[in-house]
Assembly symmetry: C2
Homo-oligomer: 205 residues x 2
DNA sequence: GTCTATAAGAAGATAGAC
DNA sequence: GTCTATCTTCTTATAGAC
């Protein structure tokens, strides 16, 4: 990997662990394996490194939103997935998603960094809410809406149903981000949450 | 208010907005209305101010847990509250709680500060999880358990039911902390969430 | 307890050789 | 592009007068 890229990568790791202000240019250089002044041949200053990370993040988010909206509105693509959507399948879907978001290196570091920088300015605040509140509710709302339209679930308010599905998962994710040792506990709660969710929206409403 | 107290108060405000590392001793002194060196007559150094805030926080948390466990296990105290616990009362209970936690100055600043410092060390991580995950689930679990035992709600897994009640509220709280302009939107979602919660656990299970 | 003056050190950034 | 040497600025903290 070229130096420019490795700087972004190591900086993201450090920013996500300690926050922008607690990471020194020297720390980043050390991780990359160069001296601090060399770093300025690649980026104008420390802020420019942060900005580059945010830019890439935004680019990936947009790409992701684009991909999801294509698949999400394509009935044939999703119909395949939900042919046999019983409770166990829903548990597996949720658990897999949870584990992916928790362990995927890039996703996890971005989430933790935004957590630490979310109050810095309105753009970062908006970015956090969009990625971890609005987008998941929109996208998962489409999925759950499909399950409703196919008769696997019943609800008269899909957005609220989506909140009931997603909010506990989001909360457990934040717990594991700060206390990774609670992952097993969180997974146990996750499974019980989804089974209960399926019972609530699957048969009784 | 004496200077020692005002230092803690202004420091908490600044730490909650900008994070510990981005607040300079001079900023705190300025808010208090003294010069930075005078501050060292009251606290050994900047870290000692932070530690004092954390100590008071812990003290209040313990007090709170103590009070709640007394009221929570006292059937007569709670029975009164839940004589007429219909859907509208539940909405009001949830909304009032939400607005209190969102707007109460001390509570809000502590929550935001811990959000920014939660990855700093294991103690702070534990403190955050305890206050915003474990404690609410325990306490609200006791309340909802009471409603179950009194026939207002039905559930075979009260902890998961409590998660379904609390996680959306927590999530909306974090949205409003970073985007205060979304409070009305959040309150609207809150109400729909609680009404749906009541329908799900009140009649169909 | 508050101030002014100042020390001590850290951190970001630049200059210029290689 | 990387290095060493260095500058500049910012920040914490102390000294000592009032």
């Amino acid at each position: 990997m070229d130096t420019r890229r490795r700087i972004l990568d190591e900086a993201l790791t450090l920013f996500s662990e300690k926050g922008y202000a607690n990471v020194f240019v020297n720390d980043i250089a050390e991780k990359v394996g160069i001296k601090a002044p060399s770093l300025y041949k690649h980026y104008k200053n420390k802020q420019a490194i942060f900005d580059a990370i945010i830019d890439e993040m935004n680019h990936r988010f947009e790409q992701q939103a684009h991909d999801l909206s294509i698949n999400g509105t394509d009935p044939t693509a999703d119909a395949e997935v939900y042919k046999n959507m019983d409770e166990d399948h829903l548990v597996k879907l949720g658990t897999d998603l949870f584990i992916y978001y928790l362990h995927d290196s890039y996703t996890r570091r971005v989430r933790k960094m935004l957590t630490l920088e979310q109050f810095k300015d309105k753009d970062l605040a908006k970015m956090y809410s969009k990625q971890y509140f609005d987008m998941p509710l929109t996208y998962q709302g489409m999925l759950l809406g499909l399950l409703v339209s196919q008769g696997f679930l019943m609800a008269d308010d899909v957005p609220v149903m989506t909140l009931h599905f997603y909010a506990p998962i989001y909360m457990l994710l934040t717990v594991c981000d700060r206390q990774p040792e609670r992952e097993q506990e969180a997974l146990g709660i996750m499974e019980k949450h989804i089974r209960q969710f399926d019972k609530l929206y699957g048969r009784n409403f």
